[in-house]
């Protein structure tokens, strides 16, 4: 089986610091993968490289066999890599429905019309489908800035879905949520993944969530791939445990 | 257009001296105002659109002080300190309320003050042109340079402005206060966490920027007529200078101001109708090639 997203030898340096160090990872079509690692492991940088926000210094990023490294963000988006952000990036004064309709129109390149009326019916119905998919119908007419934090993050994901991505990258989907909200969020994400059948990659700190839903886990540390495997394999991996607990030091004299 | 006249001037030492000295005072006045704009912008990240009005206040304060005391030194102080205090009050009670609001609100607060200050000046000093005349201290024979003559006041103004520039540069570059200011410009929060009252730093910087505008006004008083609304032209010119030099860059403002001053001065001979156009053209070219200005850093 060929990989949907195949990353080979990816490199990124900031000044003297190597933030992404020869990362090689494959993501199979329809897989659900968690990326974990201690702070400064280079997880968000890794996403920024895939989505074209940062230009890699070396290596390849292949989506369905086509190398997309070095392309602009909008080209990469159009090719089918969507992304939701760590801090929800939304349109504060749009209602949920309008925001999604506008996103669908943008994706379909139908925003240039000045003669027709917003919302165009088929875009609006697509927007409602997406709302139903992520469970935002109940707040469809609410301006985004009045949404709860969790719903804002859902909307951010929904905006990414409007682009009909083959691969969806979620950067800490549960960041800043209370315990219950987290599980609601993660259930939605999981349902979304199973219903749409896309390739989902998420960064997450909450280990309970990671081990509960991820099929495979990739551990980054200092910009390198430290380990990859099933939850069980990762749980018993000494190197990973050490990465989290830190190396022993000599007792200071 | 009169390229022959310009060529003729450029080949006559006397004309060069006259035009350069005239250009230098234009440039130095613009620089003093622009340096205030750029200093405030560099640290506080707001553009003080009222800075031209501050310059105007400086002119009027100086006029009044001169009328009362007959001393030009006192009127310089009155312009600088009066406007400086006004600037601090303006920053504390008005501008600081809209630091976190969007640009529109900042713009409107400034616009309101432009309206108010022009009207206040008209009420207090009247709407007619007022002149200070050349202070007695400078009623001296012109200085002969090369083949031309430079009015002593022009020489004083230029030297004085350069001195101020050096002093401000030293204050910002060498003193602990200056180091704190530069640190606050980069990372206000960290400076605050170190126990420094950054609101006070902001007020002081706004005050210093205002002092520079007031000083420019007081320096201009002997060579410019005072009239309500006079601040606007210099606001635009100082903006052009800040854009060309790079927002936040004092050195850039200094060089660009001299350039603009010389263009205006020589332009009145060679292309009197197009001097403004040339200024804007230069600004447009600079923006096209380097949007952050000649010496500007990348905007955050």
């Amino acid at each position: 089986m060929t990989a949907r997203l195949a990353i080979t030898g990816l490199m990124k340096r900031f000044g003297g610091v190597v933030a992404t160090d020869n990362v090689t990872l494959d993501f199979a079509p329809g897989s659900l993968t968690a990326i974990i690692g201690p702070n400064g492991a280079g997880k968000t940088t890794f996403f920024n490289l895939i989505t074209g926000k940062l230009k890699p210094d070396g290596g390849e990023i292949r989506l369905d066999g086509v190398d997309i490294s070095g392309q602009t963000q909008s080209e990469i988006v159009r090719r089918g890599i969507g992304r939701a952000f760590q801090v929800a990036s939304i349109f504060p004064r749009f209602t949920v429905e309008d925001a999604l309709t506008a996103a669908v129109l943008t994706h379909r390149q139908q925003t240039s019309s000045m003669l027709r009326r917003f919302p165009l019916p088929d875009a609006a119905s697509r927007a409602r489908e997406i709302m139903a998919l992520v469970g935002l119908e109940r707040v469809g007419k609410t301006p985004s800035r009045y949404l709860s934090h969790g719903d804002q993050k859902l909307l951010d994901i929904a905006l990414a879905l409007a682009l009909e991505p083959k691969v969806l990258l979620l950067d800490e989907p549960t960041a800043g949520m209370g315990p219950e909200e987290r599980w609601q969020m993660i259930e939605r994400v999981q349902r979304l993944w199973s219903e749409v059948g896309m390739t989902l990659v998420f960064i997450e700190h909450d280990m309970d969530i990671v081990f509960k839903i991820a099929q495979t886990i990739r551990v980054l540390r200092y910009g390198k791939v430290l380990a990859e495997g099933t939850p069980d394999e990762i749980r018993s991996n000494e190197a990973v445990i050490e990465a989290y607990l830190g190396t022993s030091l000599e007792e200071p004299a | 257009m009169n390229p022959e006249a310009l060529l003729a001037c450029l080949t006559t030492p006397a004309c060069i001296v006259t035009q350069v000295s005239a250009g230098m005072i234009i440039g130095m006045l613009i620089f003093l105002v622009a340096s205030g704009v750029t200093l405030i912008f560099g640290v506080l990240k707001v553009v003080n659109f009222t800075h031209g009005s501050f310059y105007m206040l400086g002119v009027y304060f100086a006029l009044t002080a001169y009328g009362l005391t007959g001393s030009y030194a006192v009127s310089l102080l009155a312009g600088a300190i009066g406007v400086g205090l006004f600037g601090v009050v303006f920053e504390r009670f008005f501008m600081s309320k809209v630091y976190n609001a969007d640009v529109l609100m900042q713009l409107l607060v400034c616009y309101a003050f432009i309206l108010i200050l022009d009207d206040v000046v008209k009420t207090v000093w009247g709407g007619d042109f007022l002149k200070m005349g050349m202070p007695e201290e400078f009623a001296l024979p012109p200085i002969k340079v090369w083949d031309g003559f430079v009015p002593p006041f022009y020489a004083f103004l230029t030297v004085f402005a350069v001195l101020i520039a050096v002093l401000v540069a030293a204050l910002l570059g060498l003193t602990r206060f200056g180091k704190i200011v530069r640190a606050a410009a980069v990372n206000r929060q960290m400076v605050s966490v170190l126990g420094i009252n950054t609101s006070l730093v902001y007020a002081l910087i706004f005050g210093l920027g205002s002092v520079l505008a007031g000083l420019a006004g007081a320096l201009a008083a002997p060579v410019r007529s005072a009239v309500p609304g006079m601040g606007f032209d210099i606001l635009i010119e100082s903006f052009i200078v800040t854009v060309i030099g790079g927002m936040g860059s004092m050195g850039g403002a200094f060089i660009a101001a001299i350039g603009i001053g010389l263009i205006r001065s020589f332009g009145t001979i060679g292309f009197p109708l197009a001097t403004e156009g040339v200024m804007f053209a230069i600004m447009a070219i600079v923006l096209l090639i380097k949007p952050t200005g000649l010496f500007g850093r990348r905007a955050a």
């Binding site: 702070n39 551990v219 990973v240 607990l245 200071p252 | -």
Partner: protein
Amino acid sequence: MTDNAAPGAPQLSVRGIDVFYGASQILFGVDLMVERGTTVALLGRNGAGKSTTFKAIAGVVPPRSGTVSMNGQDITGLAPYRIARRGIGYVPEDRQIFPEHSVEDNLTIAAKPGLDGQVHWTLERIWKVFPALQSMRTRMGGRLSGGEQQMLTIARALMGNPDVVLLDEPSEGLAPIIVTQIAKLIGELRAEGVTILLAEQNMHFCIAVASSVAIIDKGQIVYRGTVAELKQNQEITKRYLAV
């Protein structure tokens, strides 16, 4: 400040603080006590709320409810500079060196007397404790290595002669040998009588330098104890710190 009087009432106490970023709640009723002269470690994985706790104490992100007090005085919600003047020195996780200031300028900007009006930390004393910094006193902050920057940030906090230093993840992203150095340094500071609240992911680092620990997970304190107790408790470390 250097008197080794018996630890009595907590010098820094945090009671039940809730902290929000916009609409999202990060901390849920966090309590912490730091007694004079001790080193307390706040352990937790990333995203657990360690940095937010520190920011709340330092006044950068004021808590929505709960109190922070220092030497018995309520400092909740004060401006950061006022909190600093009450004796709190903050070493942020991302260090926040002034990149275009020299090492020495980074330090002199921060100089202020302590609560007792005395200057315990002079440049000379800093140079003695951090000889590496002295040798690069004119170098720009932005051109230091990660470990050097970490040293500089700690030194910068000391220049304000604080009663309590908040050290946010001093070992993060540093090579093991540097981490050992930093641990040694913290030991020295402790010997000098500096009270330290330390945030860490690195359990071994904490064990090496701290006397007591609190573990934070998902914005709540889930464990409290001495270092010795923590060493015994494999289950807790596995659950809240490892994978």
